[in-house]
């Protein structure tokens, strides 16, 4: 018989936990859900748009009644649990239902705090928490005129905005002199107040409510200074209180909330708790994003996988008042020693402030232009060193939305048919629709359902912005520690470190040691593990062909029709008449339908049948060619210009140096593709400053540049240092390349890697530390002994023949 899981609280945190659990293990439990409200699970954070008549209740339902039925979940809605009998492991509901549990999940949420003042129990006084409250408010708006909202925080202002939209005369009463003091500093709060006032909202600041007046129903509010204002409706939005009554009655340890550990377990190990009712590491959360992280952990433990750990959340806030852009995250009030970056444009009502400590963002407040809020929040969560782009950071992530989306960066203003993901042809409307109809909250969800941002990833920022603007604060930002894939909880860094420290030398050893959840991984983690093992244990680890993406397994680029392309290496772009003749002969012999000169100074032959590859490679190999690795996460090309042998401006032998660099590095496997270039003078005809490692020759030596990219996001290299001899160029190139090979995440180009670890860090280990540089260079050259074996020649001689030969059947 299955075990029984009972969920108390039919809200977002509880249901999210069930969804995560069903994904991990759909058959473990018989699940019963109790909820006090007579609705299936709905998106509570969207109540404000419902109140503002921008959405309907149906729009915000997350799990329909059919969903419960399809997943065999018994739902008792409109029936609250009144008692937990821990001795007999059962819950008892208001209506008298008794249900046994093996595991109990408490997600009782929170209640609005009602200030205990005289008259607080009169008709027309309420909190803003659920659908019933919204109905009451909408009803009042039809029959009455004056509304008072007590509390100038996020929820209070959203309630006030909604009531105003429904025609009421609204006054917001706030105890302090700035609105939203938990999210905004004074200048931003003042801008907010001015723009709300302009819309017709009234404010009473620094006002303490003393009494609510009226007979049955409220008719006025009196303040401690004796002043009174008329009121037919009073909404109290001064805060929430974790709903712990049920847990407390059952003797479960509570403080302000139900106290849980990092696995979301209460003091009773059979009982878990998630959501606004819990207190974790002394923090109670009132926003949705942390609840989802908790849900993921709780589900993991309910599924008995036992590897998730909740370590607290950094939260960000957006106000859901249409037409007002406001964003806040982290520690937005500076402390002594912090630095503040500020941008103000009063005539445009724009205010941006970043609090910086040790070159890292600690907090952000934005008003008017919140376009880059998600970017700042990401930099904050990941603790990115911003020193290299500090001078422009307030201008925003100007490279957001480069290739493929023109200059359309203002997500909120985009029309529904604006294309967001140029790779997969996904429009804004498709994404918004998927988010709303399928109840999506994370980037991964959106990727899975729409394919947006799942190819090149350049639109990730745009998609995150759409998520943020569509679901408001419920948007669950990707956790700063990203697991490699769904097969593991471990990040790339943890995997790299474990392979190194625990001498894991096979895929199986790595998966066993790191407790992989799947027996043989997936198409995401297998190539990554294969690369990490290969890079760390050259000569010891045997490359696993079946863990290579097809291009690297077949040593050619698969094309859309299933044929392959072939690009022989031309060191430094140099070529001889005999080599060109050999290529021409090969093209004739194998009926190559199209040839093209590539951007990397070599020749691409398209339309090759897979069966023909080994024979073609044999001819190329006989003519002296080796693989160009144009298909691999590997060293691609070294682009060169003519240099001083021919060019009247040339300062050094750029072509010759290019050949030497390519000789040194060819065959090397990398986290991602890797390109070199050498320009013979600062005119830079070889475009060395958009390469992973670029050399610009000058009269007195060689400038070395790193971390450039000419692709999705154009990034100009950072200047590493200047050296005097070709030998030094080779040493620095080998050392930088090896450092990237050892430390970058699989599929991370040098550009984001350099930004992540910072140029200063790279300089410290390569330029300043000579011993380390030489060791890196030696390690690189050692690894090259095993990788400079031409894969084409091997296959022309019969290796891996099965890969290239179809099976024949008689008839």
């Amino acid at each position: 018989m299955k075990e029984s899981l009972v969920l108390v609280g039919n809200g977002m945190a509880g249901l999210r936990t069930l969804e995560e659990l069903l994904k991990l293990d759909a058959d473990r439990y018989d699940i019963t859900v109790f909820g006090s409200e007579p609705y299936p699970n709905y998106n509570r954070i969207m109540l404000s748009p419902v109140l503002a008549s921008e959405k309907t209740i149906d729009d915000i339902i997350l799990n329909s009644n059919e969903w419960y039925a399809e997943n065999n979940i018994t739902l008792h809605s409109g029936d609250a649990v009144k008692e937990i009998d821990r001795v007999n492991r059962q819950v008892i509901s208001e209506s008298g239902k008794q249900v046994q549990y093996d595991r109990l999940l408490l997600a009782t949420g929170s209640d609005p705090f009602i200030i205990p003042i005289p008259g607080a129990d009169k008709d027309g006084v309420l909190g803003f928490r659920d659908i019933a409250d919204v109905d009451t408010m909408l009803d009042a708006a039809k029959n009455y005129k004056n509304a008072v909202v007590i509390g100038g925080g996020l929820l209070g202002l959203e309630a006030a905005n909604g009531l105003m939209k429904n025609g009421m005369n609204v006054t917001v009463v706030h105890l302090l002199d700035t609105l939203m003091e938990r999210q905004l500093d004074k200048p931003a709060a003042d801008l907010l107040q001015a723009s709300l006032r302009q819309r017709g909202m009234n404010f009473l600041m620094q006002a303490q409510t003393a009494e609510i007046l009226g007979d049955e129903r409220v008719n006025a509010v009196r303040f401690s200074d004796g002043n009174e204002i008329e009121a037919d409706l009073v909404v109290m939005a001064v805060g929430i209180r974790p709903n712990i009554e049920l847990a407390q009655k059952a003797g479960i340890y509570c403080d302000r909330g139900i106290v849980v550990n990092d696995t979301m377990q209460t003091y009773d190990p059979k009982i878990y708790s998630v959501g606004e009712c819990v207190q974790h590491r002394n923090v109670c959360y009132g926003l949705v994003a942390p609840l989802f992280e908790q849900a993921r952990v709780a589900a993991n433990h309910l599924a008995l996988l036992g590897i998730g750990k909740y370590e607290g959340s950094v939260t960000s806030t957006k106000l859901k008042v249409t037409g007002i852009d406001l964003f806040s995250a982290g520690e937005f009030n500076e402390e002594e020693g912090d630095e503040v970056l500020l941008m103000q444009d009063p005539s445009q009502n724009v205010y941006k402030k970043l609090v910086i400590r040790d070159n890292r963002i600690k907090g952000a407040v934005m008003f008017g232009d919140t376009m880059d809020g998600t970017w700042y929040f990401q930099l904050l969560r990941e603790g990115t060193d911003i020193s290299s782009f500090r001078s422009t950071i307030l201008m925003g992530q100007h490279d957001l939305g480069d290739a493929g989306h023109g200059d359309e960066t203002r997500v909120a203003a985009l029309s529904d048919d604006a294309e967001i993901c140029g790779c997969n042809g996904v429009c804004k409307g498709d994404i918004v629709n998927a988010i709303q109809t399928k109840g999506l909250f994370t980037l991964d969800d959106v990727r899975a359902h729409t394919k947006a941002s799942s190819s090149c990833g350049s639109c990730t920022g745009l998609v995150e912005s759409i998520l943020a603007s569509t679901v408001g604060e419920g948007y669950s930002a990707a956790p700063s520690k990203q697991p490699v894939c769904g097969c593991t909880e471990h990040s790339h860094d943890e995997v790299i470190q474990a392979i190194h420290e625990h001498e894991l030398k096979s895929m199986q050893a790595a998966r066993d040691f790191l407790e992989w959840k799947t027996p043989d991984g997936c198409a995401t983690c297998r190539p990554a593990l294969n690369y990490y093992l290969l890079a760390r244990w050259p000569g010891e680890y045997t490359d696993d062909a079946q863990s290579r993406f097809i291009n690297e397994r077949a040593h050619g680029n698969i094309q859309k029709d299933g044929t392959y392309s072939v690009v022989p290496r031309m060191f430094g772009g140099l070529v001889t008449p005999n080599e060109l003749r050999a290529i021409a002969d090969v093209c004739d012999k194998f009926d190559v339908p199209e040839m093209k000169v590539t951007g990397g100074q070599r020749i691409d032959m398209f339309g090759i049948q897979k069966e023909d590859l080994p024979a073609m490679w044999k001819d190329l190999s006989d003519a002296g060619f080796v693989s160009g690795h144009a298909y691999g996460k590997a060293l691609r090309t070294c682009k060169t210009c003519a240099g001083k042998n021919w060019c009247r401006f040339g300062t050094q032998d750029s072509t010759g140096l290019g050949v030497k660099l390519e000789d040194l590095t060819w065959g090397s496997w990398m986290p991602h593709k890797y390109k070199l270039a050498v320009s013979g003078c600062p005119r830079n005809c070889a475009e060395a400053t958009i390469k992973d490692f670029g050399v610009v020759c000058v009269d007195s030596g060689y400038e070395l540049h790193v971390g450039g990219n000419g692709g999705i996001k154009v990034r100009v290299t950072d200047f590493l240092c200047k050296v005097e001899t070709e030998e030094q160029v080779l040493e620095y190139c080998g050392a930088f390349t090896q450092m990237y090979r050892e430390q970058a995440h699989y599929l991370e180009r040098t550009a984001p890697w350099v930004e992540r670890v910072s140029l200063g860090y790279i300089k410290m280990h390569i330029v300043d530390d000579e011993a380390n540089r030489k060791e890196l260079y030696e390690r690189f050259k050692y690894g090259q002994k095993f990788s400079q074996i031409d894969p084409w020649k091997e296959r022309a001689e019969g290796q891996e023949a099965n890969e290239f030969t179809p099976l024949q059947i008689a008839g």
Partner: protein, 103 residues
Amino acid sequence: MNNWIQVTDLKEIPKLGSRIVKTAEGDIAIFRTAHDEVFALRDACPHKQGPLSQGIVHGTSVTCPMHNWKIDLASGEALGADEGCTNTYQTKIEEGQVYIQIK
């Protein structure tokens, strides 16, 4: 009617890999899992006809090399949030020989 066709020795298909059989009705991809189960699918992804035989095999599914759709080897159906299905063929292994059933 007995229409089982012997295609290859199991050894000739790499573990977690595949081979292609060319037939009158098009290419058929034959997959071998880590546990030596064998599955056969039409070698075309339901999404944009990518050659599934060239994908990475894991568990009892294959990831298409073109756009990363994940296809269940037993049913031919797309997994996850994607929707679509490709033809499947019955397979069996007898005395180390792999057979598929073609109509």
